[in-house]
């Protein structure tokens, strides 16, 4: 009888210990950045300078700023922590026809227009405007 009570105590104690936090999702998002120019021209290559103030791929909450990868054939791949992001830049794009144009993306420049990147894979189209 006493052994049964000891067992009851152990079960009661262990049941109290079973609480815990939820399992968290994967930390990163594989982001595909796709460019869209005003006139539909494809961008052969483009490099976004990280030294130019205003160029940002910034996590709104943590403040971490990522360097844009080199865009080739209208696309670039970037691995970022899942979160809410501000994206904006000025750059010089080399179009498919060989010409170079100054371009700007400002669609996600401020918190009101921040973009949520919350899943493991996301594709984001960046609208480009010509500056010249």
């Amino acid at each position: 009888m006493r052994k049964q009570y000891i067992l009851y105590y152990l079960v009661a104690a262990l049941s109290v210990l079973s609480c815990g936090t939820k399992v968290e999702p994967e930390l990163f998002c594989e982001l595909t950045l796709s460019l869209a120019t005003e006139d539909g021209a494809r961008v052969a290559s483009m490099t976004v300078s990280s030294s130019l103030e205003g160029n940002q791929c910034r996590n709104l909450n943590t403040g971490m700023n990522y360097t844009y990868p080199v865009f080739e054939d209208n696309e670039a791949l970037l691995r970022v922590q899942k979160g809410v992001y501000l994206l904006s830049f000025d750059a010089v794009a080399t179009l498919e026809d060989g010409s170079t144009r100054s371009v700007r993306h400002y669609g996600h420049a401020d918190p009101q227009n921040a973009v949520n990147l919350l899943s493991g894979r996301e594709t984001l189209t960046l609208e480009l405007v010509y500056l010249d």
Partner: protein, 485 residues
């Protein structure tokens, strides 16, 4: 004084032992003492014993390991402790504590209960002196019916901390714990006890800037090992008013053998969420702390050996908040970004020879903390050792005691990984200094004296002092005076 007299009459037990004998019993008893259960008063090996004590204690550290708690501390305390046993079948325990003091040169921390809410403290870049005032009340009642016993306990702590120069945090803490326990005595005379407890915790924190020219420092919401929640850095109300709220549970098992064996196990889990009241009370950080303690040994009237293993796991969760475009900030998801694993394992022995008591202990301890992204690591391990000797002797109406101790810490090493390009230079420097301090060899020597004089058979007055000095100028001291009854 009338209140103290009433207290004395209420709790003084019609005991065969006088107050000096009961004091000596407490200082020389090797009987195990279960402390993490509501029945601890009933299971205590001691006769009725109560005290009212006033004291001053402080620390002085040239290079503190935790600047978050300052480098100097001075505190006055009033402590009332009661253990009343009217007969062998029931016991009442209680404690009242009031303390008022100051912590000097607190750095990188504007939050109270830093070691509870770490790493999610709010910090400022200036630091300063922090005043504090704390109240603590606890009570327990346990009784025995046949072979079974039952216990009820509760405690409440209120803490107020504030600073009188910009930036000025004002923190108010409320901490309530309730506990129940039950157990029984086996036919062999051994006692089993199982207890549970529940706690509720809250802390409100507001940092103000009185300088009409504006703030000349910033407030940071730290997320561990040099990282911070950049969105809320600054000095506006969005950044400077926060609230912590949470709860916890605990369980304990105690075994007190009839022939000297004993064992204790306890487990506690506390979950505290950090909120932004100015952003519709949205949660943005959460810390979950789990601690398990296991100890056991064998005790006789002359000697005792005891071993312990303690483990702790702290995990930190960071919430992803949306842009608040619709006037409400909402949480989108949360990540487990921080973890800290700690351990402490060792053994201790005690031996009594006449008026002398000798102790010695050895323990290995260490921790590993990391922040997942970008990768940050701080870890350390070392060996703790202690040796002590004390002398306790009665001379008529007097009871005198002197004890000396030596403590040492030998570091095995420490590791620090900080991505400097993602960390403020001041925080990089701070953690570099922390690593250097973890790698220091520490040796300390302490001395304490206590004199107690019987005034009545069940009333005595005592006074004493204690100090500890170390090679790294990390010193503590204490003066106290009180009444026993």
């Amino acid at each position: 004084m009338p209140l103290l007299l009433a207290l004395f009459l209420l709790v003084s037990a019609p005991d065969s032992l006088g107050v000096l004998e009961r004091s000596a019993q407490r200082e020389r008893s090797l009987a195990p003492r279960p402390e993490k259960t509501a029945s601890s008063a009933l299971l205590s090996p001691f006769a009725a014993y109560s005290s009212v004590e006033a004291g001053v204690d402080g620390t002085s550290q040239k290079a503190p390991l935790f600047p978050e708690e300052g480098d100097h501390r001075l505190e006055g305390t009033l402590r009332i402790s009661l253990l009343s046993r009217k007969d062998s079948t029931s016991a009442v325990g209680g404690k009242v504590l009031y303390s008022n003091g100051i912590k000097r040169n607190v750095l990188w921390n504007s939050t109270s209960d830093y070691f509870l809410v770490y790493p999610y403290a709010v910090a400022d870049s200036v630091g300063g002196d922090c005043r504090r005032e704390q109240y603590f009340f606890s009570g327990s009642y346990a009784f025995r019916k046949g072979a079974w016993h039952y216990g009820f306990a509760g405690s409440y702590r209120a803490l107020h901390e504030w600073r009188e120069a910009d930036p000025r945090p004002r923190n108010i803490v409320s901490d309530l714990t309730l506990g129940l326990s039950t157990g029984f005595r086996l036919s062999s005379g051994a006692v089993l006890d199982a207890g549970v407890k529940y706690l509720r915790y809250s802390q409100s924190s507001q940092i103000s800037f009185y300088n009409t020219r504006g703030a000349n420092s910033s407030v940071f919401h730290l997320t561990g090992l040099g990282s911070h929640y950049a969105r809320f850095a600054g000095s506006n109300s969005m950044a400077t008013t926060t609230r912590y709220g949470g709860s916890g549970i605990g369980a304990s098992l105690s075994f007190l053998g009839a022939k000297g064996w004993f064992g204790f196990f306890s487990y506690e889990m506390t979950d505290i969420v950090h909120y932004l009241p100015s952003q519709n009370e949205t949660p943005y950080q959460e810390v979950v702390v789990r601690e398990a303690r296991l100890s056991g040994g064998y005790a006789t009237q002359k000697w005792k050996v005891q071993a312990h293993v303690n483990g702790g796991f702290r995990s930190g969760l960071e919430y992803v908040l949306d842009n608040g475009n619709r006037g409400l900030v909402q949480t989108l998801m949360r990540f487990a970004m921080f973890s800290r694993l700690s351990f402490d394992a060792g053994a201790q022995g005690t031996y009594i020879a006449g008026p002398f008591l000798f102790t010695g202990g050895l323990a290995a301890e260490g921790f590993h903390a990391q922040h997942n992204y970008p990768g940050r690591v701080l870890s350390s391990a070392g060996l703790d050792s202690s040796l002590g000797a004390s002398w306790l002797q009665g001379f008529g109406s007097w009871l005198l005691g002197v004890s000396a101790r030596a403590e040492g810490y030998v570091p095995f090493g420490a590791q620090l990984i900080i991505p400097e390009q993602f960390t403020m230079p001041a925080l990089t420097e701070y953690y570099t200094l922390r690593k250097e301090r973890l790698e220091r060899f520490r040796l300390g020597a302490g001395l304490s004296v206590k004199a107690q004089r019987r005034l009545l058979r069940s009333l005595s007055v005592y006074a004493g002092a204690d100090c500890l000095v170390t090679n790294i100028q990390d010193n503590t001291y204490k003066l106290f005076i009180g009444l026993n009854f």
